[in-house]
Symmetry: C2
């Protein structure tokens, strides 16, 4: 008998704009907004162990949402994470690790949960830890998800922009999600709702990039470096926006290298989170 | 300016069991059930033309659901279809062509529809033509979809078995979907609801194959060749089931070649329908 497969891939997810929504129940908590899922992301594999542990690129770490995910199963694993994008820079890495752990544990330990159940476990863990509000449901979907209603499957409601693109990104520094979404978010909420209304009226990539830029200005989240970089891409005839929430810039097509930046390149990732072997 | 991309890939979809549901509104009509989406499927590309036309593997055809999809746009295309699986044999080819046409037309003619809107257009066209009830929503999702509630996005509700597998299939002959789902379907409905309840209690691939076999017996849809083939795979230690609706057999892993059959081989296709260039 061959040992059961237990590796998951979860795409990175970069939110262009959002509006947070809190409820007493974490499965009804989340965000509306829109973003891109990326072919860059995390690989998560699990194996049985005496004590649960999480290792990112070989180093042992403490990650509250992943601990919560592990506790939803009757098993103690070592979780190995291999990530091509850094944590805390706006690419949904914590959500990707939480969801990848749920998928890989379900496969390895034959837990017989459905996709919606695993997404719910990972979404709840992210909300409880304050590390994210909408990445997990977007990463489960793949492509270019529009989050119409907040929350886990059965509560939240998604649509998507049905196209694909190559894209580029640069990472300057981290921003702490918990600090930003834990403070006064009135300006973010108003700007996020306005951006979603405009995108729904014209659900295309150029409009997504435009309303995302406008959102980051109105919500007062731009840093000087991000603002300069977006302007440089614009001057070179491209389209860029700030990654929520990190000091990072994402451009459609070759917008950043056209403007002279040394950027990472990847594509939109249609599959969403999957078991890969 | 480079011409906009306009080719879509839509996976084949083989339903293992189902229960039809009819409503006055085609977007509320559909089926519950479960199936596998396949890496074998159809490629659909469109280009502007003076008169709308559909060509499958280079031959001009009349396809009612595709005509309906074309009429939902302000453009007349030639639709080129390249399919690796035959129509009418239980692999959702008509739904794949309808959905692929919707995706490719949206991209080529910059129609600015969302994913849910395009899936709705294709689902409605399939229901109106009587060619399918659940393939389109499954093909949009990818993976191993469970159709919990019937209908187009906003009405239907999907979950999935969060794993993947290689699989094999043999095709003996066509069955006419419209004849089977247009007749007395009381036995199908009862067997389909029972199969879904069992699968929800243990959402795994072996249980999916088992309840699908049981469904085809209880709904009295097995032909002699299909029954013999499923039994031969079982004797060789494998798992197989009948494709709804075609005289075709699908086996998990290498079940058919292990039993001595010359079978097509492919994998589950996580992405669902996508624009590919």
């Amino acid at each position: 008998m061959v040992e059961r497969a237990a590796e998951a891939f979860v795409p990175g997810h970069v939110t262009g704009f959002f509006s947070p929504h809190w409820a007493d129940d974490p499965v009804r908590t989340g965000s509306i907004g829109a973003g891109l899922t990326l072919s860059d992301g995390v690989r998560v594999s699990v194996e049985p162990a005496d004590h649960a542990a999480v290792e990112i690129d070989g180093e042992s770490v403490e990650m509250e949402p992943v601990v919560d995910v592990i506790e939803a199963f009757e098993a103690t694993p070592v979780v190995h994470v291999d990530t091509s994008i850094p944590i805390g820079t706006g690419f949904g890495v914590s959500g990707a690790i939480a969801l990848g752990t749920a998928l890989a544990m379900n496969e390895r330990f034959e837990a017989a949960r459905t996709e919606n159940e695993l997404v719910t476990i990972a979404h709840r863990a992210e909300v409880d830890a304050g590390t994210g509000l909408g990445d997990v449901v977007a990463q489960a979907h793949g492509g270019i998800p529009i989050r119409l209603e907040p929350g886990a499957p059965g509560h939240g409601h998604l649509d998507a922009i049905p196209t694909t693109t190559t894209l580029e990104y640069v990472v300057f520094d981290e921003l702490d999600t918990a600090t930003v979404i834990g403070g006064d978010t009135a300006a973010i909420e108003a700007a996020g709702r306005a951006a979603l209304a405009t995108l729904r009226a014209d659900p295309t990539l150029p409009t997504f990039a435009e309303v995302s830029r406008q959102f980051s200005r109105e919500a007062d989240l731009l840093t000087d470096r991000v603002e300069e970089t977006i302007a440089a891409v614009d001057d070179a005839g491209g389209e860029a926006f700030m990654a929520m929430l990190g000091e990072s810039v994402v451009a459609l097509d070759s917008g950043l290298s056209d403007a002279g930046y040394d950027a990472h390149r990847c594509t939109v990732h249609p599959p969403g989170a999957t078991i890969v072997r």
